[in-house]
Each structure stands twice: as C-alpha cells, then as structure tokens.
Symmetry: C2
Subunit: 323 residues, 2 copies
C-alpha cells in the first residue's frame, strides 16, 4: 500500500530583530527551521519571507504558509493594521504574500498562534476555556474558548499589557504610564532591578556591581541567573515580579474566568523561580475568593516554538477548509 | 381562527432589600409586576418567591419562572454559590424552587439577565459582540458573544468591579483596596464628594452644606441632582467619575474588544451628565489608539427592568429547548 505523502506547512515567527521559519508536519513537529534578520522595509521583509520559503521548498513539499505577527490584525486576519516593530501599516499582507508565494497564506496574531500551538499539540490539549499569558519583552495574551480563538469585534482582544495598574507609575513606550507590562515582563525585571539597586541596599550583590558598571547592559536573563545563584537583589526582583504576576493572574481570572492559565514566552523557562509564589498571591486577590474554583496555572510545553507550530497548523487547516 | 393563547413567564429581580416579580409576555413587555421586601433567611426567601408567583397565577397562565441573582452561580446555573446580600450559600436553588413552584425555573446572574434583556428587546438587538456595564451601587458586567452569554469556565466572568486600579486606594468591602468600583459607581460618587468636600474648597456649594449637616445621608442621586443644578462640587464629582468611566471603558476595550458597550444600571439615566466626556477619555486610553476601531458606547433601553425581562425570556427559552 502506498504511504500517504507527508504534508508540510511553514510557520513564521516574525520578530523585530529576527524571523524564523519552521517546517512543521501534521503532528506539530518542527522538521527543520531557518532564520534570518528581519528587514526593515515592507518590500524587503516580504522578499525575505519568500526567500526562506524558496529554500525550504527545494527539499520539501509545502502546502501552505502561516505568519505569526506581533501586532494588530483585522478580525478576518487579512490586514496587518499596526505592528510596532515591523514596517507593515494597514497592509493587506495575506493577499500580497499569497500572490508572491503562490501558496495559501494564513496570518495570525503571535499570542493567538502560540496559544493555538499549545491547544493542538502542547500543554492545553483538551482544555475548553483557557488563557495563554506570554511573558517576554512585553505581555501577550490569548483566549481559547470552546476550541476557538476569541478575537472580540475588531480582532485585538485580549490585551492586558497596557492596563494601568499604578497611577503615575513607570513610563511606558505606549505613551501612558503605570502599564501592567512595565511591572510584569522581562523588561519589568530590568526596571525593578535598577529601581531597587538605586535605593543603595543589596551591597553584597554581584548584580548591583553589574548595574553600576553598565546599567544599560542589564537583561532579564542576568537577573534570573543571579536569582538562581541566590544573589539578594536577584531574589528581591523575582519576589516583586511574583507579586505582580499574582495580580495579573487575578485580573485574568476576574475578567475571563478561564479554567486554565498557561504561562508562555521567554520568561516561562524560569517559572520555577516565581510561579508558586505568584499562584499563592493570585488565590488571595480574586473577587469572591473561597467561593469559586481557581483556574489551574501551568507553563507551556512548546516554548519559543509555540507560535511557529500553531500558525503552521492554522495555515494547514485553512487549506483543508477551503477544499 | 382561534387566537394563540398568551404565554407568560415571571422574571424576578432579587435585591438585598426588595424583590420584584414581573409578568413578561413573549415580546418582552412587562404586563404587570409585584414587589415585596426580600426575606433574610433561605426558607422565607424561597417562600416569598412562591407567594408572588401564586398571586400572579390567579390572573395569568404562567409557563416558567426566571430569577436574576446578584451573586456567583455555577456555570450550569443550578446553584447559587455566594450572593453577598442574599442568604443562599452553595444552595441548589433552581431544583428547590422548581419543586416548590411546580414550574420550570431558570437562574441567571443579574448582569447577564439584564444583558439578555437588552440583547433580545433593547439597545443591543443585532449586536454580535458587546458588553453591558451596569453602574449602580457597584459595577456589574456581562459579555454577549455571537448571541450567547460568555461565562468563563466557572460561571463568574466577566468581573471588573474589583480590579485594583489604585495601589493603597479606597478600602473596599471585599477586603482589598483600590478596587475599580470604589471609583466608578454610585457609591464612588459619594466617596469622591466626601473626599473633595473635605479639602475645604467649593464654599458656595449647597452639596457641601448637606455633607457638613449629615455626611452619611449623602446619596449618588443627590450628587447628580446637584450637578444638574450646576453645583460646583456636584460638577467636580461628575468630572472625576467621567474620567474613571473612560478608564473603565478602556479596560473593557483592551481586554474584550467588543463592538458595543451599553451602560446600564441606576446611573445610566444620568448618562447625559458624564458619557460624552467618558468616551473622549476612553478613546485616548486604549492601547493602539488610532490603529483600531472604537467600540460604540450607548445606554440601555430597558432601564431597571432589563434583568426581569431578560431572565423571563431565558426561562421561556429553557422551556422551549426542553420540549
């Protein structure tokens, strides 16, 4: 009996610095992947995407292409309205790329893509109503309800990163101040570390020495590494972060009341440093605490590949639905 | 040709002080209504509900009974888990009342009931994805998506009233501080008026005189009435309220991204005093302002009857679905 030929979809994760393309099979496995710097003009970016697909096409049969985009799309996922780190502005990206590539193309928001990956092949398989909270440079979020991505009326839901949680708080790149992602993200770790270091305590901290040497070189990774090595400033920063994450989980539980919250994004690999504390805090912060079940909280299984895997699967499904 | 006999459902709005029962026809019209004080024990409350239904039954054929409850229900709407102003605690109210009444009974959260009323017969007819924001003593909210009530996994979504918006802010009855409903509700008007009056300004304000005379007698209604009469403190309180309502609308838009937000509850009848200002503020506060459509914002059409009308319709539908 002849074997059914393998079907591959390419999933793109397009960041402000680099873009990655994963060749994904039907079971959500990344067979191979490529990456390249993200060009900064519309034309070069679209050409760059085509080049990576061409490279993958030489060795594999490709049915469809998916793009996980960090930005606002329209609810039909045809147009990239605005993506802060990408050149597209109100651009009908899906149609343009479909013509350029000669293949079916599917666009999706990056957090929705990652959530779809975990829903189909990762930590959220079988969950009926759940939220992905992606913690990286900022905060991304997605709600999967009854097996579908919740988009709201205009395709931008759910956004938690720019809720004001501190009046007159830390200035945000969005133009407001006190936004949640200034307190609960990888960037927030750096802010908190600098603030705490400036108070003059933590004298026996190697992290303080690093900050004094070059405050701009500080990264979230340095802080989590320091916390692992019991650096007192590192520990204090993670404690602050845990409390803010607890607050964030309680906001999600009050507003969306999901059965499960999955932590994804770059910070999820350090969840052992903060998640138990955050969940404890969360359980005391929700309204009606004690009279309602708590959402389970866990971490993603697909790590940084969740977006590529998810959007490749969505691309494949779009093709099947259109047949 | 014989006329189709009229079908009536009774919709209850059960508050901490009084309960009202409306006899509602198929078109959402309240034909007649009764009210009585809300008893404070489980047994007396259930008996009181039966008494009102008995009175209505003497004159009208009744098919079903709906109860709009201000509290947490389970997602199947069988059990009242906790209602701060009612005696039920983890009580299987639906089944109990069905046995007592000998009629099909439907429970629903009060904000969901009011939203259903506006969805079927009021300001939200034809809207696909929209939020009811009920402003009264506290904040109630409901999300209707694709013609269905969004409940979350455990039946408590969406709750906005106890999100912390001011760290170390006004103490809340829930045990936390800085909760949104301490800044954006009828109760909030009273808090803000007392705070502003205590600053010693507004010397030519009749409202300040009233507060000095008896601060505990102050009500939200007195404040909106004073604002209408151009009392300077009344105006200042409404300005503060408008800003907080703008903030609240922006939270709803960021998290749920609805196409329409309907203001309901007791304060909605004074919307001309604050809504335009609130919408202006809201439009500047959402993330990605300028790159996404704004939700329309309006007021409900059914006023304080929305809950009774909505839950009566839900009760009628439950009967039809079970046939």
């Amino acid at each position: 009996m002849p074997q059914k030929p393998a079907s591959f979809a390419v999933g793109f994760d397009i960041g402000g610095t680099n873009m990655r393309a994963g060749l994904v099979d039907e079971s959500g496995r990344i067979v191979t992947s490529l990456s390249a710097p993200s060009p900064h003009t519309t034309h070069a970016l679209e050409q760059g995407i085509c080049d990576l697909v061409e490279q993958l096409k030489t060795d594999y049969p490709i049915d469809s292409v998916g793009l996980a985009v960090a930005g606002f799309l329209d609810p039909e996922c045809e147009v990239v309205r605005f993506a802060p780190h990408l050149p597209w502005r109100d651009e009908p990206v899906r149609e343009k790329l479909e013509k350029l590539l000669g293949l079916p193309v599917r666009l999706e928001h990056d957090a929705n893509s990652a959530a779809w990956g975990e829903h189909r092949f990762g930590a959220a398989q079988g969950a009926d109503n759940w939220v992905l909270l992606a913690l990286g440079t900022g905060i991304g979020a997605a709600l999967i309800e009854k097996g579908e991505i919740y988009r709201g009326a205009y395709g931008t839901a759910p956004e938690f990163g720019h809720l004001r949680v501190v009046r007159g708080g830390r200035a945000c790149a969005c133009g407001k101040d006190g936004c949640l992602e200034r307190y609960c993200s990888g960037t927030a770790l750096v802010y908190t570390a600098r603030e705490l270091a400036s108070h003059g305590a933590f004298l026996n901290s190697g992290l303080v020495e690093q900050i004094t040497l070059d405050p701009n070189a500080l990264t979230g990774k340095m802080i989590t590494t320091a916390a692992r090595q019991k650096d007192p400033l590192g520990i204090a920063v993670l404690e602050d972060f845990s409390e803010w994450l607890g607050e964030t989980l309680s906001i999600i539980a009050d507003v969306l009341d999901p059965g499960l919250i999955i932590i994804g994004g770059g910070l999820s690999s350090d969840a052992d440093l903060y998640l138990d504390q955050a969940v404890n805090h969360y359980s005391t912060r929700i309204v009606g605490s004690g009279y309602r079940p708590l959402a389970r909280v866990g971490t993603g299984q697909l790590g940084g590949d969740a977006g590529m895997i998810g959007v490749a699967d969505l691309a494949r499904q779009s093709v099947l639905e259109s047949i």
